[in-house]
Symmetry: D2
């Protein structure tokens, strides 16, 4: 285990931090004002475009991308940058072209796309010209079990015909999300993990109905393109739109999972650090019953606990990143499961305490904390509920014991 940040990482940390200090944090107020002022626009407020230009100029662009098309960083190198971006969740990832689901989609296209697919979709995504969506979750089934997926992708001559209903398709409300990667079944009779395929479907293809934006605790997340319910009725795309091949859907999904979880967890840690900063600042400032909150024992307890929890979850996430880099997805299995289980609930606890220290205001639009809570809470389901992951991790422990004897 060597988690030391190397020279490349330290350099990027410094440059990213400067960018945050000089551009991102100062832009937050403008961001919220523009968002309030344009209640029906399902895309980032204009202030973001300027930040993108600046980030690109500074070489803080596509940092997430491990290959030649991006910054070429390892997971361990990218992880601390991702934490820093998580501190300004609405602005920093988008400004640096490191926002989900584009990141996963770009990785998939890099790894599995044909030259034509790359040219048409990956290039404008890498440039930050368009956005994208990943259509997997379905309302009718427990999508944590990928084999439950019911959307059909049926070949008909030179085309595939897609029928199904998806929801929580993040980003898809944004008209600039030009392309969707859709997961569905090409062969319901194949073996369990060979039934699914992934296919590129332009958002303006006939037969697609972007029905509505799902809300999360009342938030519609429209600056991120929301979370759409999308209905596919006899949607036809050329067979060349298939990614990798029929039956490859499950394997492609697995490939994006590992890095995606590390990104999510590191961003959560950024949220946790900023929540703790707000908690500490408020505790230092606010007086109740004759003394500052910072002298109330219970508030101090929360502050200490937050620090103890953050340190542990960050180390675990870094270890998962380091394992991904050194022994790959499979060798990092336990740790990848573990951070998925531990990070959301840990950060939820911290954010909850930050809310509590802020009183009513903590739940309102005057602080970012309540919205962080919503984001964090969501991750207790994303990629399957915690309980599914715990079950898998336990199975692994139980089997390990069996073989040890």
């Amino acid at each position: 285990m060597e988690f030391a940040y190397d020279a490349t990482t330290n350099d990027l940390i410094e440059r990213l931090t400067s960018f945050m200090d000089e551009f991102i944090y100062p832009a937050e107020a403008t961001f919220w004002e523009q968002l309030e002022a344009a209640p029906d626009v399902w895309s980032p407020p204009p202030v973001i475009e300027g930040l993108k230009v600046e980030a690109k100029k500074r070489g803080l662009w596509n940092l997430f991308h491990p290959g030649a098309e991006g910054a070429g960083l390892t997971n361990l190198q990218y992880a601390p940058l991702c934490e820093i971006m998580g501190r300004s969740l609405h602005l920093a990832p988008t400004a640096t072209n490191c926002a989900a689901p584009d990141t996963g989609n770009m990785e998939v296209l890099s790894m599995f796309g044909t030259d034509e697919q790359k040219k048409q979709w990956l290039e404008p995504l890498l440039e930050g010209e368009i956005r994208s969506a990943f259509a997997m979750t379905e309302p009718a089934v427990a999508s944590s079990d990928a084999t439950n997926i019911e959307t059909s992708i049926v070949r008909d001559g030179d085309e595939y015909v897609i029928n199904g209903r998806k929801w929580f398709i993040s980003g898809a409300m944004n008209p600039n999300a030009k392309i969707m990667i859709v997961m569905g079944k090409t062969d319901p009779n194949a073996s369990r993990h060979r039934q699914q395929s992934q296919i590129l479907v332009p958002r303006d293809t006939p037969g697609i109905e972007i029905k509505r934006g799902m809300r999360v605790f009342g938030y519609d997340d429209r600056d991120h393109g929301g979370h759409a319910e999308v209905i596919f009725t006899d949607v036809r795309v050329p067979v060349t739109n298939l990614i990798a091949g029929e039956g490859e859907g499950f394997a492609i999904a697995q490939a994006r999972l590992g890095p995606g979880r590390i990104h999510h967890c590191m961003r959560l840690i950024g949220i946790a650090e900023r929540s703790l900063e707000l908690m500490v600042a408020r505790a230092n400032d606010r007086v109740a019953f004759g003394k500052p909150l910072s002298e109330q024992g219970v508030v101090r307890d929360w502050i200490a606990e937050s620090r103890v929890k953050i340190e542990q979850i960050r180390l675990l996430t870094l270890k998962a990143a380091w394992l991904m880099d050194t022994v790959g997805n499979k060798g990092a299995h336990t740790e990848i499961q573990a951070i998925k289980i531990a990070a959301p609930r840990t950060v939820e606890w911290i954010v909850d305490k930050a809310i509590q220290v802020h009183g009513g205001g903590g739940l309102s639009q005057d602080f970012p904390i309540a919205e962080w809570f919503a984001q964090v809470r969501t991750l207790r389901f994303a990629d399957g509920p915690d309980e599914v992951h715990k079950n898998a991790l336990a199975r692994h422990e139980l089997r390990k014991a069996g073989t040890r004897d």
Copy 2:
């Protein structure tokens, strides 16, 4: 301790349950549709008016009111009715004219109002013709400590002049909230609990700026008139608008607290019961990894825990109600504190599990659960954060020990 429901209570439970089954639950879908369709109206959707007519016709009206002007029920008699109403939080309390903050305001006017004040404000409130607001919380100070309040109420001849800034003034966005009861300081130099007064301020008085609706998570609660930030600048009302007398503000606030907390906690229990019903229904229906959720051990654990927790918190709340009825506010002190501490977090736990069993949908507008979470979470601050109440309760225990020796 005699918590048995008497004949009156049982009769009302039965009639209220019928009303819920026949009118309230069936109206819920319409309610949400109307609310979605009218995004800028800060008042209940039209379907509510019909329900009010029906409730009144059935004698299910002003049930909260312990005096001759209402149903004349004790706290213990009203408590189970309040739980039932909590099951449809947006519709039932409003339909029966039992919604906060009108309930507390009506009680205050009944107890402390002059005949003229009653005629002008209490009567239309009792009829359900107008709504009202209670302006206490201020952004600049920890309002859990009432002595922190900074709004000034200064006598100037036959008028009082009010200056200050309030927020989270529930209901005040609704133009039909014709009247506000405002808490402020008439004498900053009086003893700690004699500085405050409460005064009637019509919402359309010059100098009042209803600045904006505070959101809770992403919800604006516009069907309940939202939670306004309100600025009072040289607002003048006649001296006859004062309630009870100068310096009585703290005592009036205390008087409404006890019943208010019981109402809140019983409604929470209604939410908990309905959350558990949804959890159980979902667990019975949903299949994941080859078996229904109801056969997953962890889900069963949540269901059992929910039942265990609900039973305990309901009994404690009923005991608090019974003590209020038999030995009064002061004798019920520990229990009133205890339910304020225990009920919100207990029900929050249950609602959280109901969300988890529902997956992503549980956080969305397709189920009422996420919004319940927001409501319940708020109550960990309302009337002061849990920590303040725990501190007070501990002081009581520590002193009791001292005198026992």
Copy 3:
């Protein structure tokens, strides 16, 4: 629900409290000294005998027994007395002849015993002349599932022959535990709940080996006769020793369960109250870092939480008792499960905090707290682990929902 203590109860509470104040608490120091001085005696220290005489004289004897042979109290009447006894767990129940497992054994003999069985065993037990044991748990199987029990009871002419191995047979190390009720299988081929029988086996019957005392967290509980491992090898008793009849074992076990759980839970509440008293006293006395512990926010939080938790669990236990009295075992099913789940863990939490406030001493023999912890912890398994009860309770909730639709 009417939990009011009636005149009989109030009178007994007063008399029992006087007895505690005048005799039990003052005897505690002597008790511990005698126990330390006689490390190998598996029975109560001599001081107990005098207390028994006094209790009997005062009519505080066999209070647990609901029938004519005892005090004739309902569960609701006995419950608060049981809480008071729990405050001095080593002395009070034994002094008043209300100690397990004699209580359950006496109830069983009263309900199901023949005249001869009663004369031989019930009478001396009621007099407090002998003690008894209940041999159910087996090391080899999960005894929470009674059908797992492997001890065989085979008829051979006028005798039954018993073979098996039991452990955690409380009281059986005490040579004065003259009689054991043994649970075993008379017919392994009968239907699930008709395989078991219960039979009277004198402790000195040939073939019985009292192998050793099981310890609990290092405690051997020798004043209560310990927790024996007992091996039965071809143990022969006359057929007249069978209780009720072949196949009745499960039904008899069920009959003793309900009251037994109420007794256990109420005694736990007595422990909780006394732990809270010690916690409060210590917090008032002890100074650290310049101020008494009672002014440390976290300690106050524990004190408040303890009160909140005690109030809830007591009400739930009283409700279970009241339901037992009014609608019987079956109608009280959910509540009986609920207190079994909630009381041990709740009181464990409180005892743990009392330990923490006492520092190292809290874990030592200088305070009773650590031993309470051991007692309470044990109850998270006794009659089956919490998880079994939660599972059963959840099944009930899931089915209830099914029938409601």
Copy 4:
């Protein structure tokens, strides 16, 4: 952060693991039998001596000692070895001469002892010929605040005269604990951290009364020399017995704290791993209600949680060790506090679940789990209760924020 185990560490891990497998684990049964058979001997059972010989032969001796007199390992190198030893807590540390409090005492003597002190006491300790004790905690005061200590050390000519009362002096019941390091006040009027001194006091010095062994839960830990209450009445030792100098007591205590906490926490992790192994083994073996415990959802949840928790706390402890090695005690301050807070409670949780999976047996002498619980629980106070550490950590966070602005 570079936590990789280097070649030295990996070699020692391998050799220590072989020693555990070949000698330590097989000796455990004998150890317990010898202990049961000799109830009054306050020292390790004879089996230990052979293990010491073997360990020394294999070069697995004094591994803890960072200097030339020991194995010369860094904290990070020793940490994983310490975890392995923790797996057999009664045997492995003693067998390898790495048991507290000797370890801390040897470190202190190495760092601060005179040549003569080293010759007389350090040498036989390093050889494992004698044991030692560290007398700090006092019953009368909150010893987490070292300035509270009341034992006096008064110079009288060429001697110091010691008066005071100590308890929980681990190891001091063992007659072979030839030497004690006693903490007391030489100058009550000096500044807060210059009042204390540490002094060498042979156990057989006149005026020392080894009063009794304190128990922890019901355990007396006699194989480790118990936890003595010791009374010092006019105990006289030559002035040359003083360590380092008058007023150095606090600084000496601080110097041993950091490594001591890492050792404690790593041993706890060894306990956690072995608890998890037992939990998994039991879950795989035991059948209840028709299926193995390993298929019960709640048990799987515990197994997964245990793994998630262990991974986090191990990483945090390794980071603390690495910081100690690279930036020293002060730079590792937050992490040293954090592991002290997090490790005991984390491992307590895991051990508790291991108990629960084992049913009644889990609390008894038939498994080591209940005793592990007692050991772990103790560490929630050792070196001061968790709450003191959390308070200090919070202060640090609050100040850091202040300076950042």
